[in-house]
Symmetry: C2
């Protein structure tokens, strides 16, 4: 028989295009509590380094603060970007808030003209502020500059064959001849940098940033190869100048190569979802729980890489807690693989529905589906 | 803890436009058994008097036979219609197989020219064959003749003011002046007729056959009132001639008024789904079961009237068996009402999908959803 007050952990990522993780979590919690008014719901909104990571970490960290920093977006337009400081002083940056794919200005520009100087400027502001540990959520970027903009902002100079400065954009790097790292901000040596990411791709090649993520940022299929070669050339020059290698590291291809530039600066790679889970107390929430619900906007084969639902599933099962997946959509071809990791995979629509309907009704449908799942999970057993 | 071999009853109606009830039941059973290879699945395909009722009753009745009878469709075109004889001799007729809404010939004709003579001819054939009990599944008809065609075929004469015979169609009945029932087949007095239906509407009025079901048979909105008055006039004449009343009886409005004509002939009204459940041994299957799954193509407020899933739910709950609903689509406005009757309501699509996709993938999606539901229902509980 079920206990009188089952403990249900709700730990979903954002439902992209409709609900941030805390709102999605709330909607599911409502459905659970409608079905089981005496349940104890432990809400642990998730993120994977991309959009929502900053909010998730701030929400999970008592004593944290949030402020806006003046910087620029991917096109160079001035913006105010939010950054966080946790109670222990660690800075938190979410690059989706600076050079994000959903930024309107970026959307109308050419990816070859976008760069990550704005991210470098934010890091500098945090270091100016005395910050000696910074966690950077990579994901949801609109850039593909190999992190050249970040490095330029931190003192690295990119020069053409005539010794003239080139812009740290994919376009500018096309004429790159040499790299001068002598002006690199010396304070970086005493700053602990952590990358939070959900991709482990290398910088270039078949599985590289341009081949895998370029198209969704507007790189034309015909341009993938040339742009990949530009990044390869750029990487060899900047690695030589800094006396370090990072292009083939895990996650070097994250955020259009920001993962590469940050690892060149000594950043440690971490799974974004694991980092969020470590900080939001997911393990403690799962201890003694009867059930966990995780989910995201769309689940597919990628879900089983470093995405939040698979991290939640692994930690839940390690504690003997059954875990269900509730996502906006589930890719049928990935279902057999997903089925091996979740104790039941469920989707949002209550019948035939368009994507627009699904996005518009996500809040109600999450509530309804969570209600049905909870009824089924805890209905009397003979 | 769950028993080692849970007993799962699968009792779904057809998924209209995609799967007949036995095929839908099979697909769900496959999903249940993939999740729980040692489960004992008790399959009880359902029907509600409409399409699939004949198959459901024959499948549930050992020693039953099926044969084809020469008759005519709603437009008068010659057809062969299947009829059943159960082991005890009772005849089974499914009018959807004779004057069905999905009949192509009916689809291209005008509802004012269609009638139910074909149903009368089938009843006569069964009576000729010695049949003294006949169950008639009403549902899915394309006609709206008040059952005049049936009565005409069994000997009732419909006459205009000059004493000329009028056709037993909505159009012909427009000039009806008198009814001569003296030629009614006398053998009907010793035949026990049972209507199986899922609607309890009266013949005419706001909740009558024409107002509620006319439009889906092609009655123009502007014609509803005139046609309803024609049926009212027809009913008063034929009731007077037979010395009986039936127009306001429960189910008189079933199948465009066939329910009226049959009740005039003494037929007893029964819920189609209850009749099917009585015959297919649903109660015995539910005894000792751990869980039941029911469903249909689309669930809405009508589901809670006399539709198969609500009959299954009532009988399951009476035995303490939790019952889940798995339908192609669930009307969100009816969900609060449905939630009171089912221990979890689930729909087919694994994400945004068109109706065509949903129909085309029903078999696989039923299997996948049943798998997920079974995982959730029987996953380990702390």
């Amino acid at each position: 028989m079920p206990s009188q007050s089952p403990i249900v952990v709700v730990a979903v990522d954002s439902f992209k295009g409709s609900l941030a993780a805390p709102a999605a979590t709330d909607a599911i919690a409502r459905g659970v509590l409608r079905a089981l008014p005496h349940a104890q719901v432990r809400a642990r909104p998730m993120a994977d380094g991309g959009e929502g990571t900053l909010d998730a970490l701030l929400a999970a960290s008592p004593g944290s603060r949030r402020r806006d920093v003046a910087t620029c977006g991917a096109t160079g337009a001035p913006i105010q970007a939010p950054v966080g400081r946790l109670a222990d002083g660690e800075g938190v940056v979410e690059i989706a808030q600076i050079v994000g794919l959903t930024d309107a200005a970026a959307g109308t520009s050419d990816v070859r003209a976008r760069d990550t100087r704005g991210v470098g400027r934010v890091l500098r502001a945090l270091i100016d502020d005395g910050c000696r540990a910074i966690a950077i959520g990579l994901g949801g970027s609109s850039t593909n500059d190999g992190g050249a903009g970040l490095l330029a902002e931190l003192g690295v100079r990119f020069l053409d064959a005539e010794g003239r400065a080139v812009r740290p954009t994919p376009e500018g790097l096309g004429t790159l001849a040499s790299v001068d790292a002598s002006g690199l901000d010396a304070r970086l040596g005493s700053v602990r940098l952590t990358i939070m990411s959900d991709v482990d791709n290398p910088l270039t090649g078949m599985r590289g940033a341009t081949a895998i993520f370029g198209p969704q940022k507007g790189v034309a299929a015909a341009d993938v190869d040339a742009l990949d070669r530009t990044l390869m050339h750029y990487a060899s020059r900047v690695e030589a100048a800094l006396g370090r290698h990072a292009a083939s590291e895990r996650g070097a291809g994250a955020a259009g190569g920001l993962g590469f530039a940050l690892q060149l600066l000594g950043a440690r790679f971490a799974s974004g979802a694991e980092t969020v889970a470590d900080m939001n107390g997911l393990d403690a929430a799962l201890d003694g729980a009867d059930w966990a619900i995780t989910g995201e906007g769309r689940s597919d084969a990628q879900t089983l890489m470093l995405k939040a639902p698979s991290i939640v599933a692994r930690r839940a099962r390690a504690r003997g807690v059954p875990v269900a997946l509730l996502s906006g959509a589930i890719d049928g071809t990935a279902l057999p693989a997903l089925d091996a990791h979740f104790d039941g995979c469920f989707a949002l629509p209550p019948g035939p529905a368009s994507l627009a309907d699904s996005l518009a009704n996500a809040r109600d449908w999450l509530d309804d589906r969570a209600f049905a799942m909870t009824r089924l999970r805890f209905c009397a057993r003979r």
